[in-house]
């Protein structure tokens, strides 16, 4: 069921957008919440003309899922794709070409694959996985902090989702 975000949800979203430097981008966009059985609250970005139709018609799917609301706002791959292209405030690591291929198979990131990263990353921090062209190819979570992320032969960033996920699931 699609519905408008309530005040609390809007506050969480605005806080996240502000932190990631994309507040202005989302200011003029329509966002709706899709909630199933009070369990998962998915956030959808859509054109303003679509919003009216959805609220009256309740389709199976609408717009682009950019993330999920829990205590915080968690980005989906499509949300990461948008934010990674318009802001550099979201924590990130840039990986080399070999790691790009491995990430697209769902593998984690080895320390020596990281060619650049946000300063002062913490352990357990969610970040964008970017390739050398700074294109978002996945979302990861750090297993270490700061310079320990660069440890050789160690998986230092866990891949949470990636751009190859759907194709792999279809192949299976």
């Amino acid at each position: 069921m699609f519905r408008k975000a309530n005040r609390q949800e809007i506050t969480i979203l605005k806080r996240a957008f502000d932190k990631w430097g994309v507040f202005d981008f989302f200011k003029e966009k329509s966002l709706l919440i899709k909630e199933e059985d009070h369990r998962v609250r998915e956030v959808y970005l859509l054109s303003s003309a679509l919003e009216t139709i959805i609220l009256s018609g309740q389709p199976y799917h609408a717009g682009l899922k950019i993330g999920e609301l829990k205590k915080n706002f968690l980005l989906s791959m499509q949300g990461a794709d948008i934010i990674g292209r318009i802001s550099n405030k979201f924590p990130y690591v840039i990986v080399n070409e070999l790691a790009e291929k491995l990430i697209l198979y769902g593998r984690n990131v080895l320390g020596q694959s990281i060619v650049e990263m946000t300063e002062n990353l913490n352990e357990n921090e969610v970040l964008l996985l970017l390739n050398i062209n700074r294109e978002p190819i996945g979302i990861g979570r750090t297993k270490f902090s700061g310079k320990y992320l660069l440890q050789k032969d160690k998986s230092t960033v866990a891949t949470l989702t990636d751009a190859g996920h759907y194709l792999r699931s279809e192949c299976q």
Partner: protein, 319 residues
């Protein structure tokens, strides 16, 4: 309506045997496909591959630069966003550019169907049989993600593919209903544009799926005609006066194409508008005779147009 079957001839038997088709299919092809021997030869080769740039994410120039650097050989087409792939060093559905939604693998003929819709920003558009989403996502990019597209797909399994492609291509102006197009009036919406890429016998894609040379029957074709008739009648009723309906199939069969449009023109106030590309629609087939306006519809033949087999009719709804 009954599928037209023609008496066997030595030539139809010979060609059917030579190219491994059921005889009745080749015999029908001989009635309306120009240079049928070249056509049958072409259907035994891989079809030309095309990709369509997703301009919601990248422009064609930058995409070409990326693909050329990976060893692709590309060729421009009459459409800026559509590129022919002559050679690729990777499967074209497994590159990072594909996964990031920079392009969609889509036949040129399918792109021409969307071109025929004359899409503009902020319109309300219906895609009646939308999976896997190639035309839907192309319409979205032509609208620059504005306005709204209603996409229908009755089959949940096929729904997965359209949802993936909408997400991959970054489309935000589309909603998908799990609905059979025949019930579209239940939505109570009138549309500026309607695209009906109708389920069909698939004769036009034999080059991609050679099983179709022998695995369909005249009765299958008749079943498709029934569905197509009810779908197009449902479609035309939801087009705004002055709006456009584009009907397409990936079949050569006149029963699924000109015959459907001819019947429609007898019951509704419509005009069949000309299209720039493709070969003229038929005005007769066996003992069937269609209105002269049917010439304005378009047929696409693999051996002539280097596309999959396709049919497009552009219909203006007058009242």
């Amino acid at each position: 309506m009954k599928t037209l079957i023609f008496p066997s001839t030595p030539e139809s038997i010979r060609l059917a045997s030579l190219y491994s088709y059921d005889e009745w299919i080749v015999n029908r092809f001989m009635q309306y496909i120009p240079d049928v021997k070249t056509f049958l030869e072409r259907m035994d080769r891989h079809p030309q591959r095309y990709i369509r740039t997703n301009t919601l994410k990248i422009n064609s120039k930058d995409l070409k630069t990326k693909l050329l650097s990976k060893g692709f050989e590309l060729r421009d087409t009459a459409f800026e966003d559509v590129i022919a792939v002559e050679k690729s060093s990777f499967p074209i559905g497994a590159t990072i550019e594909y996964l990031l939604g920079y392009y969609y693998i889509q036949d040129l003929s399918s792109c021409i169907a969307v071109e025929a819709l004359d899409v503009a920003k902020n319109q309300t558009i219906l895609d009646m049989a939308s999976a896997p989403g190639g035309k839907t996502t192309f319409i979205a990019q032509k609208m620059q993600n504005s306005g709204c597209i209603i996409a229908l797909e009755p089959n949940l399994r096929r729904m997965r593919s359209i949802l993936y492609n909408i997400a991959r291509c970054g489309v935000i102006n589309t909603c998908v209903y799990k609905m059979d197009g025949r019930h579209v009036s239940d939505l109570n919406i009138k549309f500026d544009r309607v695209l009906l890429d109708a389920p069909c016998s698939g004769e036009g894609v034999i080059a991609k799926d050679i099983k179709r040379k022998t695995n369909h029957t005249p009765e299958d074709l008749e079943y498709c005609v029934l569905i197509q008739t009810s779908l197009i009648e449902a479609a035309i009723k939801v087009v705004k006066p002055g709006g456009l309906l584009v009907y397409s199939t990936c079949s050569f069969a006149p029963e699924e194409n000109e015959n459907i449009i001819d019947s429609l023109s007898k019951g509704f106030d419509i005009e069949i508008e000309p299209l720039q590309y493709g070969a003229d629609g038929l005005i007769s087939f066996g003992d069937l005779h269609f209105h002269q306006e049917l010439k304005n519809t378009r047929r696409f033949y693999p051996h002539i147009h280097n596309t999959l087999g396709f049919y497009i009719a552009k219909i203006r709804v007058k009242s």
